[in-house]
């Protein structure tokens, strides 16, 4: 388990306030008027009035991409009377990349990502009801074939409770592909995989083969099937749908903004 940060200044971005470990407060009054961006030595910084934004572990908040900084600043500026941290997905992703609270290195992160393939949603099929099995075949087979062709691997699918049998060579291919991403982008990729519960859907999304909405739909295929049969409960179904879309969109945008190739940005990103 990760050690909690040494100072009690743990969680608040600007002032110390003695909360536990890495748990940020859910809501807080907006304490700043203006949000602006500036360029420092390590990259782009966010200014709340005259104060510089810091991470939960009190590091200076710097991001390598100007577009990402602008999007983060927009999150902070969109807050009305209270700051709703749970809506600020890009800020959270940047904090995770900067603090690395789970203290994983690149290899561990890649291993965690590829491990998802063994229980990948789109490979895990049901046998009944037949309508759902058919839906899974029609909607998921194309994306599995796409991944197999694109990465030149064998994946397949399974109705077995143990899941598909993924050949070692397939895992190796994905491991070496993911190794080409820098640490920041990898945090984003691992985040998207955890949200969608699928490595294949995540790669399909990051390779721009499908949109966020489509990826989320495919991830929630069984829920959508049940909703079509039994109806949608707005405060649960739509709520979860919007949250999943928001997180997946944030993760995808984060990966793309952190993997833009330019020599200046490569110097700023820590690998």
């Amino acid at each position: 388990l990760p050690r909690p940060p040494p100072t009690p200044a743990g969680s608040c971005p600007v002032e110390p306030c003695g909360r536990r470990a890495y748990a940020p407060p859910a809501e807080r009054k907006r304490f700043y008027q203006n949000v602006s961006i500036s360029q420092g030595e390590g990259g782009f910084e966010i200014n709340l009035d005259h104060r510089k934004l810091k991470t939960p572990q009190a590091k200076l908040f710097t991001v390598p991409s100007e577009a990402l900084a602008i999007a983060v600043a927009t999150e902070w500026d969109s807050q009305k009377d209270t700051i709703k941290f749970y809506t600020m997905h890009l800020t959270t992703l940047c904090n995770t990349a900067l603090d690395n609270p789970t203290q994983r290195n690149k290899t561990q992160l890649i291993r965690a990502a590829v491990k998802f393939l063994e229980t990948d949603t789109v490979c895990y099929r049901v046998e009944e009801p037949p309508a759902l099995a058919e839906l899974q075949k029609n909607e998921w087979d194309p994306v599995v074939s796409w991944a197999e062709k694109r990465y030149n691997v064998t994946i397949g699918s399974s109705t077995n409770i143990l899941g598909p049998n993924i050949p070692a060579s397939t895992k190796e291919t994905f491991i070496s592909h993911l190794a080409s991403y820098n640490m920041w982008a990898l945090q984003g990729i691992e985040f998207v995989i955890t949200q969608l519960k699928s490595l294949i859907l995540s790669m399909s999304l990051i390779d721009r083969h499908i949109t966020v909405e489509k990826a989320v739909l495919l991830s929630r295929l069984e829920e959508e099937y049940q909703i079509r049969r039994w109806g949608s409960v707005e405060w649960a179904h739509d709520y979860d749908l919007c949250e999943l879309r928001a997180r997946t969109a944030a993760g995808t945008l984060f990966v793309h903004l952190c993997s833009e190739s330019s020599t200046v940005k490569h110097k700023l990103l820590q690998d």
Partner: protein, 107 residues
């Protein structure tokens, strides 16, 4: 490449979302200016060949999805999950009862 539709539509919707988020001075916000500049610089048209344009369009569509979903999620949260717990009086009122004022359930 993902099925995205017309780039103009995506960018217009994105600018609209930014307007919702910002309020009065939306035109001065860095995000609005950045999106507008990116759109003009790449002169997004319906050409299917340019890869940079497609990547930019995908990015715009993703950001649009993010802004929209966050707004919708917050609206749902406020509507259904934002009220906290009901007081004992309210709970009693749900089934048409009133809490007693005196001990023993009288009055």
């Amino acid at each position: 490449m993902a099925a995205l539709g017309a780039p103009l539509r995506t960018f217009r919707a994105l600018l609209r979302e930014l307007r919702h988020a910002a309020g009065r001075s939306y035109r001065d916000t860095p995000a609005y200016r950045h999106v507008l500049a990116a759109f003009r610089a790449h002169r997004v048209t319906s050409e299917k060949l340019c890869r940079a344009q497609q990547e930019l369009h995908f990015q715009a569509a993703t950001y649009l999805c993010l802004l929209r979903s966050v707004r919708e999620h917050e609206a749902l949260h406020r509507e259904y999950h934002g009220r906290g717990e009901r007081s004992p009086q309210e709970v009693a009122g749900l089934v048409g009862f009133r809490l007693p004022q005196q001990p023993g359930g009288k009055g």
